[in-house]
C-alpha cells in the first residue's frame, strides 16, 4: 500500500518500546516482516549513551522509522518534538500525539488538529493518533494528513476494539483515507478484527513486546493481520439472527 510517497508492504506496524532487549525487538520485527516501526526520542544520558546503539540497531533493520511525539501534552511541545525528530531520524514522518488526559491517554483533539495544521504546512507527513470522531478526522484530513491513526482502546491496555461500531463508521465515512488502528490491540484476533473492518494496517507494541515470546507473537500478529485483510478483500458475509441451512433441502430423502 502507498503511504504518502512510500510503498509499504507490511500491514502490521510495530512499536519498538518495552521489549526485553534490543535483540528481541530485532527478532520480532524480522519475524513479522514488518517495514514500519515507531520510535521516540528522549533525554540522552552522556554516561549511559543508549541513543546511539539503539539508533544503529534500528537502522540495520532497514525499516521505515515513524518517530512519535509521545508524552507531549501541548501543541508547542509536540511541534518542537517533531522538529527534533525530523532532524534526528532524517524523515518527514511524524506520529503526532498530543495527549489530553492522563488516565486513558486520550488524545487532545483540539491541540492535535492545531499541531497537525502547523506541521503539515511545514512539510511534515503527519500520522495523527486520534479518536474515532468523524468531525475530528475530517479536520485532520483537511489539515493535510493523509493517514489517520484512530485508537481501538487506551494505549497499552490490550482491551481490543472497544467500539467496533465507531471504527466501522470511520472506515465507511472515509473510504479513500489510509486508516491505521493504533493503541489497545492486545491479541492477534484484535488485529484480525480491525483488518476485517477494512482498516489499512494495525500498529501493535505492548502485546508483542511483553508477550512470553515476542518473536513468536510478532509472527502470530503478522498472520492474523494478513488473514483479516484477506477476509476483508474477499468480502465478508453478513450476520443473520436465525439459522439458514447450508445443505440443499431439495432432494432430501423421506425417512421419517
Amino acid at each position: 500500500m502507498r503511504v504518502f510517497d512510500m510503498e509499504i508492504h507490511s500491514r502490521l506496524w510495530l512499536g519498538s518500546a518495552r521489549y526485553p532487549s534490543p535483540a528481541v525487538l530485532a527478532a520480532a520485527v524480522r519475524a513479522a516482516r514488518c517495514d514500519v516501526v515507531t520510535v521516540s526520542l528522549r533525554r540522552e544520558n552522556a554516561v549511559a549513551g543508549a541513543g546511539a546503539p539503539f539508533h544503529a540497531l534500528i537502522r540495520e533493520l532497514g525499516v521505515n522509522l515513524l518517530p512519535n511525539t509521545a508524552g507531549c501534552h501541548s501543541v508547542r511541545e509536540a511541534v518542537t518534538t517533531a522538529h527534533m525528530a525530523r532532524e534526528l531520524f532524517g524523515t518527514p514522518w511524524i506520529k503526532l500525539e498530543v495527549i489530553g488526559e492522563g488516565e486513558l491517554l486520550q488524545p487532545d483533539v483540539f491541540g492535535l488538529v492545531e499541531a497537525a495544521r502547523l506541521l503539515c504546512a511545514e512539510g511534515f507527513q503527519v500520522f495523527p493518533y486520534t479518536t474515532t470522531d468523524l468531525g475530528v478526522a475530517e479536520r485532520l484530513l483537511a489539515a493535510g494528513c493523509e493517514v489517520l491513526m484512530p485508537w481501538a482502546g487506551p494505549i497499552g491496555s490490550g482491551r481490543g476494539l472497544t467500539d467496533p461500531f465507531a471504527l466501522r463508521a470511520l472506515r465507511a465515512h472515509f473510504p479513500a483515507a489510509t486508516l491505521v488502528v493504533d493503541a489497545g490491540i492486545g491479541r492477534p484476533s484484535h488485529a484480525a478484527q480491525a483488518m476485517e473492518l477494512g482498516f489499512d494496517a494495525v500498529l501493535a507494541n505492548t502485546a508483542v513486546a511483553l508477550a512470553g515470546n515476542p518473536e513468536t507473537m510478532a509472527g502470530a500478529f503478522a498472520a492474523s493481520t494478513a488473514a483479516g485483510r484477506a477476509g476483508w478483500e474477499a468480502g465478508l458475509m453478513s450476520a443473520r439472527d436465525f439459522a439458514e441451512a447450508s445443505t440443499p433441502v431439495v432432494g432430501q430423502a423421506w425417512l421419517a
Binding site: 512499536g15 518495552r18 521516540s40 533525554r43 540522552e44 541513543g51 546511539a52 539503539f54 518517530p67 497499552g156
Partner: protein, 65 residues
C-alpha cells in the same frame, strides 16, 4: 555558569550550544537539541549563546510505541 541540562543543574564553561555538546562528549549527529523550549537545528548550535539558568535539552533516539 550553571544551567539546566536535561532537567539537572550543571556547571559549564561552554559559551555556546555547540561548545557545550563538545564539552559533554556528544556526537554532533546523534542528538537533537533545544534551548528554553525552542528547537535548535544542528547548523545553528554554534550561534546559540548560553546564559546562566538556560534550560538545555539534549535528546537521542529511543524506543517508542
Amino acid at each position: 555558569m550553571e544551567l539546566f541540562l536535561n532537567g539537572e543543574p550543571r556547571q559549564t564553561r561552554a559559551a555556546d550550544l555547540a561548545a557545550l555538546l563538545t564539552e559533554l562528549g556528544y556526537a554532533e549527529q546523534g542528538v537533537a537539541t533545544a534551548v528554553n523550549g525552542r528547537f535548535v537545528p544542528r547548523p545553528e548550535r554554534a550561534a546559540v549563546c548560553l546564559a546562566p539558568r538556560d534550560r538545555v535539552e539534549i535528546l537521542a533516539p529511543m524506543q517508542g510505541g
